[in-house]
């Protein structure tokens, strides 16, 4: 009898410790990542219950959300941010957890650091108190976000109580056209399946488009699984995965690596694997995609117009009407030409070296439009260093972009990088929720880093395909 389990179920079964009284699985977590925002209360739970960290070497801490990207001198100007930094430093010291702090060249956005260091590996279960933990699924791991009480669960027991989700295979066939990036693929999938289409599911991304993608591109797609409601998403490990990991600091070495690679590849879903659901998209039909609303499914191809209210159901009319009112946009208007005030390139979705290269290729020899504030925030100190070695910082600065230190920056509103008033931001991040970028009335248009660069230069949403 052949094993027709998909990767998700194989990895889940390998990590199942036992069933607990209420019926959930006690699932072993192979890698636990923590950061300064969702961990302090978890360490308080450990102190209150007089518990220790069960496998301290399986947890890695870094700092990203509250880190200023201009002046990083301590103490921070923001006393609350400084208190959180001191808390994670003390907690890591007291409980024996490794911390990549600002003085460590390995510091950066948690979901960029794990892969960069070779900590993220196929066949692992990975958890972090951050919904974008799904990023790590790009390697064929099962990776998902958890709340703070669950951070305490992992610290104290290296396990979580979870119910097994269903698995949906999302196949994207064909070939992406020039100017269409991984970001467009995931925005397209979310647009078609909806922001809650993935609730109760893990997503397996497969097909020619994913086979051809680099690991960094796969990370962009897996990162936004949660925006489609799926707590985790993954791509099966292949030679691209093995090649990416080889030689990284925390990767197995020598003969151990060869055994690891063989095991990783053996976990991939077989050709006849069973799934709870299947969906197929044609990659050649995907356009550069831009959101116009207040959730990530509210998007259109760059050559399209915003929806007409009369074409929607009554429930959707209300949500869409509210989104238009908040965004100051009208039904049936083209997305191209919508004016922007700010351009942000960075985040765990699109803050890796390939993202900066794609944006720099558009920015090179051009100038940011008058009145647009544009910033580039590398996802880690190592990405920043690599970009500077390649001269990307000079290209961005010559074009009028600000070149910043590593951090989460303007993806969310926990550090000094924020929108003001009703500013409109072309952003390579992952969420266009009301107020997400720090101004309660600020507005976000999500798009690929190349599209953000194009918008920065033209001062409005533009089709990057005319600038390649």
């Amino acid at each position: 009898m052949t094993d027709r389990r998909n990767l998700f179920n194989k990895v889940w079964d390998l990590h199942s410790v036992r069933s607990i009284a209420s019926g959930q699985t006690q699932l072993f977590i192979g890698l636990h990542l923590i950061h300064e925002v969702t961990s302090p209360q978890a360490f308080s739970i450990l102190r209150d219950r007089n518990l220790t960290v069960m496998f301290p070497e399986r947890t890695l801490a870094t700092v990203d959300h509250i880190v200023p990207t201009d002046n990083q001198l301590r103490p921070f100007a923001d006393g609350l941010a400084e208190e959180m930094m001191s808390a994670i430093e003390k907690n890591c010291r007291d409980f024996g957890v490794r911390l990549f702090d600002l003085k460590d060249i390995r510091q950066g956005v948690v979901h960029i650091v794990g892969p960069e260091q070779g900590l993220t590996q196929p066949g692992m279960t990975i958890a972090c108190g951050d919904s974008h933990t799904s990023t790590h699924g790009a390697f064929g791991s099962i990776a998902f976000g958890i709340g703070t009480s669950q951070v305490a669960d992992v610290l104290a027991t290296q396990t979580l109580a979870l119910s097994r989700p269903k698995v949906r295979r999302i196949e994207v066939t064909g070939k992406l056209r020039p100017g269409v990036f991984a970001k467009d693929v995931i925005l397209h999938i979310i647009r078609k399946l909806g922001v809650q289409g993935g609730v109760g599911y893990a997503y397996e991304y497969a097909g020619e488009v994913f086979d051809r993608m680099t690991i960094e591109e796969r990370m962009t797609v897996c990162n936004m699984s949660i925006e489609g409601g799926a707590r985790c998403g993954y791509v099966n490990p292949d030679q691209t995965t093995v090649d990416y990991i080889k030689g990284r600091p925390f990767a197995p070495q020598g003969a151990d690596f060869d055994r690891a690679a063989a095991w990783w590849l053996s976990l991939a879903s077989p050709a006849d694997a069973e799934f709870d659901d299947r969906v197929t998209f044609n990659g050649s039909e995907i356009e550069p995609t831009v959101t116009w609303g207040i959730n990530p499914a509210q998007s259109v191809g760059v050559s399209e117009r915003l929806p007409k209210l009369s074409t929607l159901t009554a429930d959707d009319q209300k949500g869409t009407g509210d989104a238009f009112a908040y965004m100051g946009l009208n039904e049936d208007q083209p997305i191209q030409g919508v004016k922007i005030d700010v351009a942000f390139i960075g985040s765990c979705t699109n803050g890796r070296i390939s993202d900066l290269r794609e944006a720099a290729a558009i920015a090179k020899g051009r100038k940011v439009a008058a009145g647009v504030k544009a910033l580039v925030v590398p996802g880690s100190q190592l990405v920043r260093q690599q970009a500077m070695d390649e001269g990307l910082d000079k290209i961005f600065e010559a074009a009028g972009f600000e070149w910043r230190e590593a951090g989460c920056s303007m993806c969310l509103a926990m550090n000094p990088d924020k929108l003001k008033g009703r500013e409109v931001c072309a952003s390579s991040s992952n969420r266009n929720f009301k107020g997400r970028q720090g101004s309660p009335t600020g507005r976000t248009l999500l798009m690929s880093p190349a599209m953000v660069a194009a918008a920065a230069i033209n001062g409005c949403v533009s089709d990057v395909r005319s600038m390649l």
Binding site: I20, S22, T38, P40, L80, A87, A156, A255
Partner: protein
């Protein structure tokens, strides 16, 4: 732990879809090392922009039962969101559907999230608006919610229901009981032993 079989209190209607956790508690309030004091900032920015927001409406003061829409609690995994609602006074949420991480966070805090049909949520909303002091009960055994003469069926995944009704919603305690099994399981994973031959 306390057995949570029935939650009773007055209601507050917020029948909107895709309410994300950034809206429930804006990120600037996450600059903290405890959850204390979050309750008063629930929906802070929505309330600033809508002076008739239910969370500012004196008719719903003291409510324990939140009536929500589809995909409630989507987005960020921040436990600060259910912590804020709980500290504001919410003890249970009846919605059309919930985002997964939010649902799990609520269960861990002993706040049942139960689902009802859109039509029934509209009826509950109407009942609350007609009489904001009406007592609403959510029963996890009979799987019904009642408001006066109105009775609607509710649903909740078995695992969460059992955890709440048997007082096993402190998962940490249960997980700790399996410590020996965890140590044994760890030894079976190739990456835990360095992929040695």
């Amino acid at each position: 732990m306390q057995l949570i079989t029935q939650v009773t209190g007055t209601g507050i209607p917020l029948l909107l879809d895709d309410i994300d956790t950034d809206r429930i508690i804006p990120a600037r309030f996450l600059r903290c090392v405890t959850f204390d004091g979050l309750g008063e900032h629930s929906f802070e920015d929505d309330r600033q922009q809508d002076r008739s927001h239910p969370f500012d409406d004196s008719r719903f003061k003291g409510a324990a039962v939140l009536v929500a829409g589809r995909n409630f609690g989507c987005g960020s995994s921040r436990e600060h969101a259910p912590q804020a609602l709980m500290r504001w006074g919410i003890k249970t949420i009846i919605g059309e559907s919930f985002a997964e991480i939010f649902f799990g966070n609520c269960t861990t805090l002993g706040v049942p999230c139960v689902c009802a049909s859109r039509g029934d949520l509209e009826k509950l909303t109407a009942a609350i608006n007609a009489d904001p002091k009406i007592s609403i009960s959510v029963d996890l055994n009979s799987l019904q919610a009642k408001a006066g003469s109105l009775t609607v069926p509710i649903s909740i995944p078995d695992g969460a229901r059992l955890a709440l009704t048997t007082g096993k919603w402190d998962f940490l305690g249960q997980l700790l009981e399996g410590a020996d099994a965890v140590q044994a399981a760890a030894k079976t994973l190739p990456y835990m032993t360095g992929f040695k031959a």
